[in-house]
Every structure is written in C-alpha cells, then in structure tokens.
Amino acid sequence: MRELGKQQIEDIALGATVLGTGGGGDPYLGKLMALNAMAEYGNVKMITHEEVPDDALVVPIAFMGAPVILIEKLANGNEAKDALKMLEEKLGKKAFALMPIEAGGMNSMAPLALAAELGLPIVDSDAMGTAYPQLQMVTFTLHDIPSTPLAQADEKGNRVLYETISNLWSEILAGNAIIPMGGACVIACYPVLGKQLKKAGIHDIVTYSEEIGSAIREAKNNSLNPVKTLIEKANGHLLFEGKITDVVRNTEGRFLKGLIKVEGLNDFSDSKMDIDFQNEFLMAKVNGKTVAMVPDLITIVDTETAKPITTETIKYGFRISVIGMPGNEQWRTEKGLEIVGPNAFGYSEEYQPVEKLNQ
C-alpha cells in the first residue's frame, strides 16, 4: 500500500496517456479531476493486486463517451458514486477497492476521485494495459468474467442497470444509451473478486504509467532527450519521426475512425508513415510496410517534449515521433488476438509482434 500525491497523479495521467495510444481522454482534465477531489478528501491509497483478499469485491470505474464531449461538459462528480451504489445494491456487497479499466488520460484517473471521496483504495491493475474502443475488449473477457451487472450514470442523476448475455451486448446496449445521456457517462462494471482479478488483470499498470510519466518529466529537467528516454523506459521502438501532413476523420457507426499521414524528418526523411485509428491508433505503416499493429501499442508523442497526443486533438503540422511498444502478453495469445488483434478491427493482415517487425 502506498499513497498517491500530486506529483504521482501528474505522472500517472501523463504516462497513462502514452499507454492509451491516442485514446482514453485528455490527461490535463484527468489530472485536475483527481487533484480537486484529493484537495477536498485527502490523498488516495493504492494497493497491489496481491493485497486484495480473494473474496473481496473490486469495481472498475470508467468514463464512457466522446472525449470531445468530456472536454466541454465536465462531469458532475457524483456519477461514479451513483453507479457504484447501484452496483453494490444489486450485488448486496460493498466494494473493497476500485480500479481503472484502461490506461488513458481520463480513464486512469476515473476511479481516483471517487476513491478519495469514499476513502477506498485503488488497485494497481487494469484490464487493458492500454485503451481500446469497446467495452468487451478487456482481459476479463479472456477469463469469462461477465461485464454485468453494469451500472451507468449521467450527470443529471439518471442511472441504468444492465444484465446482459455477453460482454459484447453490454457494449452495444450501454453504448446506445450514451447519446440520449448527452454524450458522456460513467460506468461501474466488471465487478470482480480478488481471486479473479489476480488471474485476469494487468498488474502494476498504474505504477508503470507513473514511471513513464516521471521519466518524461525528469528527462526535461535532466537535459536528456525526452523521446529517447521514453523509448528506453517503455521498451519501445522508434517507428518514425516526422510532421503530420494530413488527418482524415470519419464517423463509422459510433466510432471515430481515421487516417494520419506523416512525412519523415531527420533519419526518416524521404519516408512516409500512415497510421490508422479507431479512437486509438491501430496500425502503422512506413512506405506501405507495416511496422506495428494492435494489440501492440502505437503512441504518438510531441518530438520536443515526448508529451503524448490523443486522437481528438491531433492536427496538421504537429512535429511528432511515433513509438511502438509490445502489448500485454495476455493479448498476444490466440484468444487475445481474437478480441483485439488486427482481424478484430477489420484488417486481413495476420498479427506480427512489433519487435519482430523492427528487428
């Protein structure tokens, strides 16, 4: 068990945005949200998965909605409490701890404000190790852990409880309720017991986010190259360096899909990179040749500061570096690839690990 203070929060928000591969929300809002709650209720305690008793209940808390809505219509702050209460009533059991479901600027912070208010610890684990666009894309699905009962709450006080026949159905039904709710909501879902979490979760991920965030921050103070520092810290590969020349965005169904075109600079001059995204970056190609794909992590950072850039804010003219990192081992299995591999996102290409593509 350890306590998270202001500096840790800032580092976690930044590092989680690196792992969020373009999704998971704005780290600035995430940071302020957590700090505001902590200023009122005190610091949050974080425990490791090993510290959770086998029969104790852990509840993931997450924002669900369009990041562009979240930056305008900030949450009330009671949504998470409402959703958790509804879930606890249904289960007849109190949460022992909360946890994030994915890495990302907002969603790594989502459980923190409520944890501060209720005096509950958060667990240093999540269920993606990165950010993915759909609710069923969690390691819990690999272990047949149901997403329901799932409670969804908006800032107006509306609450919906779901019982579904599959995690995909939760995604469909809860996703559809977001629009009438005004584009954003908070969910409490995948209630897990300690023993389930230990087996199915991606562990020490918050600490890992913090380490990445602090490496970026300290690189600047120590006159180190922030991008190089990040690559070393995250076991990454520099896939490309260049300047964004075009961003094409399309809505397909409920998703923001698009393509980012980059022209190379320095070691990559005369080369071009294309990056596909669906809320998160999925596939990166240099001169037509794939250099990284899901479930490996593709992250775009500002070349000067190594600050990560999210899909809703990326723009023409940004000077960026693209970094590929190996995805979590759970996702690199046959079953994992079925859910979040290239085929799951409509690509015909077979998955190849980033380290193999960049030998």
């Binding site: 600035y28 809002l29 302020l32 949200m33 700090l35 505001n36 669900m64 909605g65 369009a66 990041p67 562009v68 809505i69 930056i71 305008e72 219509k73 900030l74 949450a75 009330n76 702050g77 009671n78 404000a113 666009p133 800032e155 107006k156 006080g157 996703g175 977001i178 629009i179 005004g182 584009g183 300047k243 020349t245 965005r249 399309n250 809505t251 169904g253 409920r254 998703f255 923001l256 022209e263 190379g264 600079l265 320095n266 001059s269 005369d270 809320n279 500002d302 070349t303 000067e304 600050k307 899909t311 809703e312 723009k315 003219g317 940004f318 000077r319």
Partner: protein
C-alpha cells in the same frame, strides 16, 4: 488626395512607425525607443513620422497598432480587473471548479468569486438545465460592489448562446448596460476550461484595454490625425477599437504574427520560413499561404491554459544584443542579452560587453554609422579573445548552425525552402543556410512588424458542433462559412476580398452524425 495608413509596432526595445500609401508602398518609417507608458513612445513616433514630406496627416485614414501591452499586464499582474466568473452548467462540470490551476498570485489578482449555476446545453442543442432567477439573484447579491467585470461561460454555448446572453442581460439590468461582461461563446472554442480561462482573462483586461484605447485615441487626435484606429490580433488580422475594448485577449501574441505577415508582404513570398532577428531573440515562424502557421499544442498565457490561435514560433536567444563569450575555448552565444542597453554596453558603442552587433560590424555584415570604427572594435575584442579573425568566423558558423537547426525543426519536409529575413539584426544571418532554397532580405526589413500590422486583414471565425442527421457535411461547412463571412463583414472586411483561410471538421467519437466544424475567413480592410 491619395489616402495613407499608418502601422505602429510597440516592441520591447523600439516603437516602429510606418506610413503606407494606398498601394501599400512604404512612404515613411521611423524607429523610436519604447517608453514605459507606451503612449509617449507612440506620440514620439507619430511626431517624427509627421515631419516627413511624404506624409499628409489629413490623408491618413487608418492607424493600426500592434502591442504587447495586454500580455505584459497579465505577466506582471498589473491593473487587472476583479472578475466574477459565472459558469452555466450545473449539474454538470462540478468535477473541476473554475480557475482551479491558475497561478496563485494571478488568481488573487483576478478572482472576485466564482460560481457554477444551473443551465447549459447538450452537444446536440438539447437543454441540459434551465437557468434559475433565484440563483442569479443570489450571485448578484454576492458580487454587488465587489467586482469590476463579469465572465460568463456556458456548457456548449458554442451550440446555443441563448443562456449566456440571458445571464448577461440580467446583470446589465442590475448593474447598468455598460458594466463589462465577457461572454465565452464570443471568445473561444469547444473545451470549457480553456474557453473559461480565456473569458476570465479577457474580462480582467477590460480596464487595461479601456486605458490603452483611450490613450491611443488621444495620442492620435493630439497629433492632429483624423483616422480610424485598429488593433492587431494574434491571427494576423485587425480589430476595431470597439472590438479591442471588448476582446483585448485577442491582442495577445500579435507581435510574431505581424512580423511573419509583414515579411510575406515585403518579400512577396507566400510560403516559407520567416526569421525575425531582434535585439534579444530571433523568432522563427512558418508562412503558409501568406499567414503564420498556428501552433499545435495548447497555448498557455502566463501559465493559464487557453486554446488560442497562436503562431507556431520558435525563439532562440540570438539577437543584436546577445552576449558572446568563450567557454572552454569554444564560442558561446547567449542566451543573455544586453537588451535595450545595447547603445551603452556594447563594445561598438563604447561599452565593455562583446555582443553579436560587434561581430556584425567587425565582419562587415553590419554598417552602423554611429558605432565605433572596425579598428577600435577589433582592438578591444583582441584583448578579450585571442585570434580575433578566427573567433569572428567561429561565431558566424555557430549562428549558421543554430539557425539551420531551428529551420529544420519547423520544416514540414526535406525540400529546400525560401527564407525571409526581417528585423533590425537581419544582417547577422549568414548569406547561405543549408536546407534553404533562397534567402531574401526585403526592403524595409527593419520595420516588418509595423508593416505587418498596417496590412493586416479583417477576419471572422466560427466553430460549431452540428448534428448532421438530415443534412450533409458539405451543407454544415457551408453554413459555418457563411456565419464566418458575416462575422468578418460586421468587423469591417471588404466582402469582395474575403477568402477561407482555415477549415476543419471533426466527427465526434461515439456519436453518430455529430460533426465539429471550424471555419476562419479573412478579407482586406474596407477602405
């Protein structure tokens, strides 16, 4: 009679004044030291330029001012208004209160209570919550006689500004219709915290803007000009005095913009790199279609986060006043500068500090009649640095390296790109820089900023989120464009010259049919 217009740039060191004829030819130019009160410097400049035979006061129809006065007021926390900040959006937005991460001293200078009241809209224009008269009365009782200005920010006021306007009317009824109120839908784009910050800063600048516009009006009429007055804003376009009084925040960072635009105009080059060599820094920016390329990352004003249009400019500590020395027998340039004390401290002006201006004179690149002779400067440098010729050569190589690096990081591709040099220290730059296709030092390079503000355009910009169900992307972009054009015309632009200078649309994740559209147009000032 042939009409004329005047551009004034108030910089950190000098106040530059230029007079342009109807075809935008420079007919007169002066440089005079900037003064603490700004007005005296402007008066001096106008006085000097009026002496020129080619300037006819009665023919001057427009005077444009580019100034960093508002930026400085925020940086120094001086003369700012106490602002009541009212956010319309409860039950949403309580998660992060207004001004949460402002620097403490700036917050203390500006914050005269902040509130989150019931109201706001959804992304699709549906009502989030109603306004409550009782709540407004309560706010009024709390702020009565305690604040100088009000800032109002409503959730999705970009979609529907009705509630912001209603709250404004309420306070105008209570406090008088001239009480300064700043409305967020007129200030910024989607992203409530950044827009709210900008709206509060704008309200805080009201007294500064009032004094500045009054002083400028007086300076102009004292000098016997009967011209219309404009202010330069940070996107390279102009605004009227009335507009500047209402939206002083838009004058922030207009300096680099003016120099890039001025460089484009003076050189005739529309796409390239502009290097503005001043006294303390060299600012390097990118020119795209005659306009400065905007910065990608969100712009902070004195550590307050905003989402403003700011030119993408990199600054390096290299200018006429930059101090040079040797460290471990290697040439070291800046970033320290003697600044406005150049004419006292530089060796070339009788001082004891070796500056880049001295190197400029010694190398024959700069010709400054009032400075000491090359022999005198050489003697004094010789006593500081042995092997003077080699030293001078090394300094010039270093300047070339620094410049090449900064150009490289701004370029979008490996192709050689034209470079335009402006600013008083332009001659310090090398004749050749690798990665560039040409280097142009246009006529009047030393007053490019003042020329930039004199030729600035009038713009209009609109950003909205649409539900495109039942319509098309093209239709909503067209609608946004016509709103922007309407904006520009009402600000004084000539309809015939208006062109779209930026158009962007973003589909919103998780929401079918929701499209965020932003269009910016600009046109010549209607003379």
């Amino acid at each position: 009679m042939a009409k004329q217009k005047i551009g004034i740039d108030v910089g950190g060191t000098n106040t530059d004044v230029v007079v342009l004829d109807q075809k935008n030819n420079v007919v007169a130019k002066v440089k005079t030291p900037t003064t603490g009160d700004i007005t005296t410097g402007i008066l001096q400049g106008l006085k000097k330029v009026s002496i020129s035979k080619s300037v006819q006061k009665e023919n001057v129809t427009h005077i444009m001012l580019g100034t960093t006065h508002c930026t400085n007021a925020i940086v120094q926390r001086k003369g700012l208004a106490k602002v009541a900040s009212i956010r319309i959006g409860s039950p949403a937005t309580h998660l992060i209160p207004p001004m949460m991460d402002w620097p403490e001293d700036l917050k203390a200078a500006v914050d005269g209570h902040h509130f989150i009241i019931g109201g706001g809209y959804e992304f699709d224009g549906r009502l989030l919550n109603n306004l409550s008269e009782d709540e407004l009365n309560e706010v009024f009782n709390r702020i009565k006689n305690k604040v100088d200005a009000i800032a109002i920010t409503g959730v999705f006021s970009q979609i529907n500004s009705e509630q912001e306007n209603e709250v404004c009317e309420f306070f105008h009824k209570k406090l008088g219709k001239n009480f300064p109120v700043s409305l967020s839908h007129e200030i910024g784009s989607v992203g409530i915290l950044e827009r709210e910050n900008a709206t509060i800063l704008n309200a805080a600048l009201y007294p500064i803007a009032r004094d500045l516009t009054d002083a400028f009006n007086i300076a102009v009429s004292t000098m016997g000009f009967n011209a219309e007055i404009f202010f330069g804003q940070n996107d390279g376009t102009l605004m009227s005095v009335d507009y500047a009084r209402k939206y002083p925040i838009f004058t922030i960072a207009c300096g680099p913009t003016d120099s890039i635009r001025g460089a484009a105009f003076l050189s005739g080059i529309q796409d390239g790199i502009v290097i503005d060599v001043g006294g303390t820094t060299t600012d390097v920016g990118v020119l795209v279609n005659g306009f400065p390329r905007e910065s990608a990352v969100s712009a902070n004003i004195s550590d307050v986060r905003t989402n403003f249009r700011m030119p993408d400019v990199l600054s390096i500590g290299l200018g006429g006043g930059t101090i040079i020395k040797t460290v471990d027998e290697q040439v070291s340039i800046g970033p320290e500068s003697v600044g406005f004390k150049l004419s006292e401290e530089a060796i070339g002006f009788g001082g004891a500090t070796a500056t880049l201006t001295d190197i400029g004179i010694l190398s024959g690149k700069m010709n400054i009649p009032e400075a000491k002779s090359i022999t005198q400067i050489r003697d004094q440098l010789e006593s500081k640095f042995s092997k003077t010729d080699e030293f001078v050569k090394n300094v010039l190589v270093k300047i070339a390296d620094l410049t090449k690096d900064v150009i490289d990081s701004l370029k979008t591709n490996a192709e050689d790109i034209p470079v335009i040099l402006v600013g008083g220290g332009s001659q310090l730059m090398p004749d050749k820089i690798s990665g560039t296709s040409s280097i142009t030092i246009p006529e009047h390079y030393e007053v490019a900023n003042a020329v930039g503000v004199a030729i600035a355009q009038i713009s209009g910009e609109v950003e909205k989120v649409y539900n495109i169900g039942g319509t098309t992307r093209e239709q909503v972009i067209e609608e946004t464009k016509s709103l922007a054009i309407k904006d520009a015309i009402s600000a004084g632009a000539d309809k015939k010259t208006i062109e779209v200078i930026d158009s962007e649309d973003i589909a919103l994740a998780y929401l079918p049919n929701a499209l965020k559209v932003k269009v910016k147009v600009a046109g010549d000032l209607l003379v």
